[in-house]
Every structure is written in C-alpha cells, then in structure tokens.
C-alpha cells in the first residue's frame, strides 16, 4: 500500500465501507464472526473456527460464506462466541460454541435456516458507529 494523502484516504474509506458492511448491515452473503480475543481463544474459539470451516466445506458452501475473526464481544461468561448473519434472518450472537455446537450452527442455522435453541445471547449494545452514520444524536 502506497502512502496516502487526504484524498486517497477518503476514497479508500468509501471503498472499504462498501467492502466491509458490518454484521448488522444487509449483504448477499452469509457472514460468520468468531470472537478471538485471549478470552475466546482460551475458551476454545480456535476449535470452533476449525469446525466451522470444516463443516462449511463439507456442505460445499465456501463461496457463499465469509468468515472472519474479531476481538472480545464482552460476553466472557459464554465464550467462545460466534456471530452469524444469514441474509433474510436476524443477525444473532451464539455463546458457548464448542466444536459440536459449531457443527450444528452450520447445518441448522446456515443451511436449514433455523435458529439453535439455548445458545443465543443478547447483543450488549447498539452499534454507535452505525447509529451515528444514520444521524443518531
């Protein structure tokens, strides 16, 4: 990446806004976000990550799903946490996602499009960046 000036940074930002909608913004693709702070990793987030990848490959839907890591979602009690945004379904955060739960997430939530019982957590707060962009004061 070449060093930027104001104009190129603004242009880049506009492009990145389009490229990286957050999980609460609509998109055509399914998005999976795995909480990978120290807390999440210690609780087994890497196992969940591997299992999600494996299951997605087994269903042959790699091209329909984007996976990424993020930091701590703040829900330490229920780590590992995974957020899933499937087009046409509410975006939800799942807690206590062991490898076994991860496998079920792919089959039930992503493929069969039904929520899984007993693992959904409340979103802790409004996304103030999105809120501000919509003119929130």
């Amino acid at each position: 990446m070449a060093k930027m000036n104001v104009a190129s940074l603004d242009k880049h930002r506009a492009a990145m806004k389009a490229k990286y909608p957050t999980s609460l913004q609509p998109s055509q693709k399914t998005r999976i976000i795995v909480g990978m702070g120290t807390c999440g990793i210690a609780a087994g987030a890497r196992d969940a990550w591997e299992e999600l990848k494996k299951s997605i490959a087994e269903f042959g839907i790699e091209h329909e799903v984007l996976m990424k890591q993020t930091g701590c979602m703040g829900l330490c009690q229920v780590e590992p946490t995974v957020e899933i945004a499937v087009p046409g379904m509410p975006t939800v955060i799942y807690g206590k996602v062991t490898a076994e739960v991860a496998k079920r997430l792919v089959r039930k939530h992503i493929v069969e499009k039904t929520l899984i019982d007993g693992h959904i957590q409340d979103r802790p707060a409004t996304d103030i960046v999105l809120w501000a962009a919509k003119g929130g004061e």
Binding site: L9, K19, G71, I120, G136
Partner: protein, 596 residues
C-alpha cells in the same frame, strides 16, 4: 408466506426462575393452536439480564422487547405479534423501566444499558485488518485534526468533552495535553500506559486486542496536539496477543502513511514504538513506568515535577491509559459537546468495567457514567450466581474498596465512588456473595501489595507487611483485641506517607472492609468464627446424624479421606485429619454436611 418471525425467550443455566420454561411451552402451544407454527420459531436463549423484570421475550426482526411476560400472555403475543404483526404495547420495555433517573443517556431507542464508545469496534471488526477500521470512520479523526484543527482547538474540544483519565485518578485529559503542549522543550513524548495490573481487570487488553488502531490513531492525534514526534506504548509482556495485534496495527498504519514522516502529506511526523513491561504492578504508576521505559529499575519518584513538564528523559510527556486514548477519536469526530451529554455532569462519557466474581454474566461492560451499580450487577450481570445473597463489590482493585448493598443505587462517577470509600480505578469490578469473607479478601489484596511493593519507601514496604501479618493472624483465629485499631493506624500512616499511590492506597481495601464489616472482623477475633466459611482455620465441617442417609457420596469425594461410615449408616468426619476443603459440603444432596 409472510416473513418469518423469531421469539427469543430468555433462560440460561444460571436462571433460578422456572417461569421462562413455562412461558416457552405456552408460546409453543399457542402457536400450534393458532396455526402459525411454521411462521414463527420460538427458542430459548442465554441469560439476558434484567432478571428482576423477567422473563424477557425478544422478537426478531421487529426487535420488540417484552418484559415481565407470563405464560398467560402467550396467547396475546402469538395473536397480536405473530399473526396481526402488531406489538403488545403493555409488555414493551419502556424508558421508565430504567432505574437511574440521573443517567443522561443518548437516545438509542433501545433497552440496552450499555453504550459502547471505547468498545465501539470490539467484536465488530477484524482487529488485524486496517481496512475494516478505516471503513468505520477510522483515522477520520486524525485527518480532521491534521487538516482542520489547530492544536489549541483539539485541547479545547477535549476540555469541552470533560474526558478524564480512565486509569483511575480521573485527571482532565484536555488539561493534561494543554500543560504538555505549552511546556517548553524541543522534544516531547506521548506514552500509552497499557500496563494493566489490577487483579481481575482486563479492559485494556480487550480494547487493544479488539481495536488496536483506535489507540494508535489517538496517540498520533495527541502527538500533533502537544508537538511530540515520538510515542511509546508500554504494555505488559503477559499480553502476547494484544502485543501482536498492536504490532500489526502499527505496521499497517506506517504502510498507509498514517504514522511516520509527513502523515497524510500534512508535514506532521509521529512515530510509535512498543515497549514491554515485565509485569511489575508498580510500573503502572506513571513515574515508575517512565523510569522503566528509560531502562532503569521501575521505581516511582516524587511528584512534582509532573510528567507534563519533566517526564520521559526529563522531557514534557503526556501519559494516558488505553481507555482514555480509545475515547479520543470519537470526541474529535462527534464533538466534545456530544461526549459531555453522556454520563453525569462531572464524569462524562462512559466507563468500561470488567465484571467478574460471583455473578451470572461475567464480562466486559461499557456503561454511561451515572449508571448505578445495581443496574450493572443485576440488569446487565444477571445477578448473583446460584441465587445467593449479594455482599459487596470491590472496585478499584488493590487500591479501591468494597461497596455494599446499601449503596447499590449510587450512580457511578469518580466522585461518588471516592465518597463511598472506594475509587473508580481502572475498572475491575469483583462481585462477592455471602460465601466470601471480607477478612480473607483484604488479606488477598494486602498479599498482592506486599509482593508488588517496590520497597523504595518505608511506609509501603514495612506497612504492607505489618498489615498482612495482622490480617493473616486474624484469619487463623489468632487475632487480638486492638488489632483493628492497629490496622487503621498503620493504614493511615501508609496513606499519608507513601511515595506513590501503590502504598498510598494499599490500605484502602482493609480500611473500607473494616468500616463496612467491623462485626465480621470482631467475630474472627473474639469468637474465632468465620461466618462465610472461607477462613479454613476457623471452620469445622460436621455431618448431622438425623439428616445423613448414608449414601457415601461425601466419603467418595473426600480427598484425604477422613470420612467413615457404613453404607446406609450415619457417616462421621475425623476432625483431626480434615483439611477443610469443603468437598463433602458441596457434594451432599441432603444438607447433612454443615459448616460452622
């Protein structure tokens, strides 16, 4: 087919009320009865908090939030919400349901008690990808500052915002930057204090791991404002992932021209380096931190001179902690006035807390200042684990104190916590229940201070040891009359005469627990009794003959073993051998094992 709806019924393993299960079944029955079973999915979730107003039903995608829902309401919810697609008005959560009338919260239109400024990107973006940070208005504040604001204007914006140091002491950030800006000197420095050391605190780790660029951007803004071209992040080596992500962030920012020479073509230079701390608690004290950064032994030096005029290598230096910096880009982008509208009059903005201990939903929470402890512990935290009784909450770590049930409704601010004999501190919040012994907790913190005292000044070096000795003796049932007076006297001397705040505040947990729980201390000293059963030397476990059915579970769990008895006969504990681990007490399903 109409858009599918989802009913999320709160629950969770820790949930003591069976009401939500009943509601869950009733909703299923009604959906079946009204023939809309396929239009709606009804599921149970983890704990939503708000337990006093539970059970909660959240409806997606309408985002309706119903509280205090009973099984009798199921029919109406299905008929109105699912079939007719209208909200059941009387069940909706309202603004009046908030406890703290004093909190000024910006209207977000939701029931959420949390408001995330510092953690705005944590759990949202990939922290190793600068593009995602940029996509969420990252580095827009730096751009704004470099090209449209004079340094004086940045300082003014910070002053208007009312932002105060989040490391604990609460010094106004705008004033700190101003003092450094006007201090004479060619070379100045910016330091980020990421030497988070309070037991149970991990706010700064999570912030750097989740959103390292917010700190990088804020430090560059600070560099421009005060005229520093060089910055250091002093971070403890125990945080390898945070260090790794910070390194990646700095490298990416350099590649983009957001750090280094001539940032964005503005002619402003700012370089950033990471320095690792070896994990000495005292190095979180700013003067000790700077000595350590210089390559010397990390020991505090008396103030004044303050870092603003003579800091790192005796040059004017701004030193702020991670959370303070993470606030800065939002202050610049949204304006100081916006920031000051959140929180209370003197403590503006939000505070991140690491909520831990005997609480159902432990985790990282960010709330507007002025939120009450009750809201944090019961509404967000979901209350005390196992339905036990709340005893107190320790804020401010080894420098703070305990806050008890009678002060749960105090709105949180720098001033209110100090008035309650604790302090804001960096944000550790450890919740205790009836099973925690205050003497034992005080001993734990004093033990920590004994280990971490640098030894430079006598009040801290000797005082912490003396206090620890007395506390230790009390927990062993060897306390003497007059011990409390001694503790208070030594504590006073340490508070007055210590060189830095480590010693100056080390007595706080003890003094504050004596203040609130004098009777418990006296019980230990006079009656050799620990009511919570934490002080092993003062507890005996016995088996009640009339309740023991002779299942033998306690004997099997006993690690010594020291429990004997025939099958189906009464069991007995050999007190001479008992190590008081409490396994039998936890194991017994019949309440036959008692501790006293």
């Amino acid at each position: 087919m109409a858009e599918r709806q989802y009913l999320l019924v709160c629950g969770g393993e820790g949930c003591q009320s069976g009401k939500s299960e009943e509601l869950f079944l009733a909703l299923h029955q009604q959906a079946e009865a009204l023939g809309v079973k396929n239009d709606v999915q009804i599921i149970r979730t983890g704990c939503y908090g708000f337990c006093e107003k539970g059970p909660i039903v959240k409806v997606m995608p309408s985002e309706s939030f119903y509280r205090g829902v009973r099984a009798e309401d199921a029919k109406e919810i299905i008929a109105e919400r699912v079939v007719a697609r209208k909200d059941v008005q009387r069940l909706l959560y309202r603004k009046e349901d908030r406890l703290a009338a004093t909190t000024r919260v910006p209207e977000g239109g939701t029931y959420n008690k949390q408001f995330r400024i510092v953690l705005r990107n944590c759990g949202v973006i990939d922290p190793e990808n600068i593009d995602e940070y940029i996509s969420r208005d990252g580095y827009a504040a730096l751009e704004k500052v470099l090209f449209t604001m004079k340094p004086e204007e940045v300082v003014e914006e910070l002053k208007v915002s009312g932002l105060r140091g989040r490391g604990g002491a609460g010094f106004p950030t705008g004033v700190k930057w101003e003092l450094t800006r006007v201090a004479p000197g060619e070379q100045k420095y910016v330091i980020c204090n990421a030497d988070e050391g309070d037991p149970g605190a991990y706010m700064d780790r999570a912030t750097i791991e989740g959103d390292p660029h917010s700190v990088v951007e804020a430090m560059a803004i600070c560099g421009y404002t005060v005229g520093a071209t060089k910055g250091y992040v002093y971070i403890r080596a125990e945080y390898p992932l945070a260090i790794e992500r910070l390194k990646i962030a700095i490298r990416q920012a350099e590649e983009f021209g957001l750090l280094g020479k001539d940032i964005l073509g503005s002619g402003v230079d700012f370089e950033l380096e990471i320095r690792l701390g070896a994990g000495a608690f005292v190095c979180g004290e700013e003067t000790a931190l700077m000595r350590s950064l210089e390559g010397n032994r990390g020991m505090p030096v008396p103030k004044p001179p303050y870092p603003a005029t003579s800091g790192l290598w005796k040059k004017p230096t701004v030193i702020n902690n991670v959370e303070t910096f993470a606030n800065v880009p939002m202050v610049i982008l949204k304006g100081g006035k916006w920031f000051s509208s959140i929180g209370t009059e003197k403590s503006t903005g939000t505070k991140v807390f690491a909520l831990t201990g005997k609480i159902n939903n432990s985790g990282l929470v960010e709330v507007p200042m002025g939120t009450t402890l009750r809201e944090i512990i019961f509404d967000i935290g979901g209350g005390i684990r196992g339905g036990k009784r709340f005893k107190g909450v320790q804020t401010g770590g080894p420098s703070g104190g305990i806050i008890t049930a009678k002060d749960l409704d105090a709105p949180i601010s720098y001033e209110s916590l100090t008035a309650l004999g604790s302090m804001m501190g960096s944000g550790g919040m450890i919740v205790m229940d009836e099973d925690d012994c205050v003497v034992d907790v005080s001993k734990f913190y004093m033990d920590f201070c004994v280990d971490e005292s640098c030894g430079k000044c006598a009040p801290c070096r000797i005082g912490t040891n003396q206090m620890h000795t007395i506390l230790d003796r009390i927990t062993k049932g060897e306390g003497e009359e007059g011990d409390l007076a001694k503790l208070e006297k030594i504590g006073q001397a340490m508070t007055k005469a210590s060189l830095c705040m480590l010693g100056g505040s080390a007595a706080n947990p003890t003094i504050s627990t004596i203040r609130h729980f004098r009777d418990e201390y006296l019980e230990h000293i006079r009656d050799h009794r620990c009511r919570s059963g934490s002080c092993k030397a003062l507890v005996t476990f016995t088996i009640l003959a009339d309740k023991c059915i002779g299942c033998g579970l306690c004997a099997r769990r006993c690690p010594v073993p020291c429990i004997a008895g025939e099958k189906k006969g009464v069991h007995v504990i050999d007190q001479a051998k008992c190590v008081k681990c409490g396994e039998c007490f936890t194991a017994c399903k019949f309440g036959a094992v008692v501790k006293a």
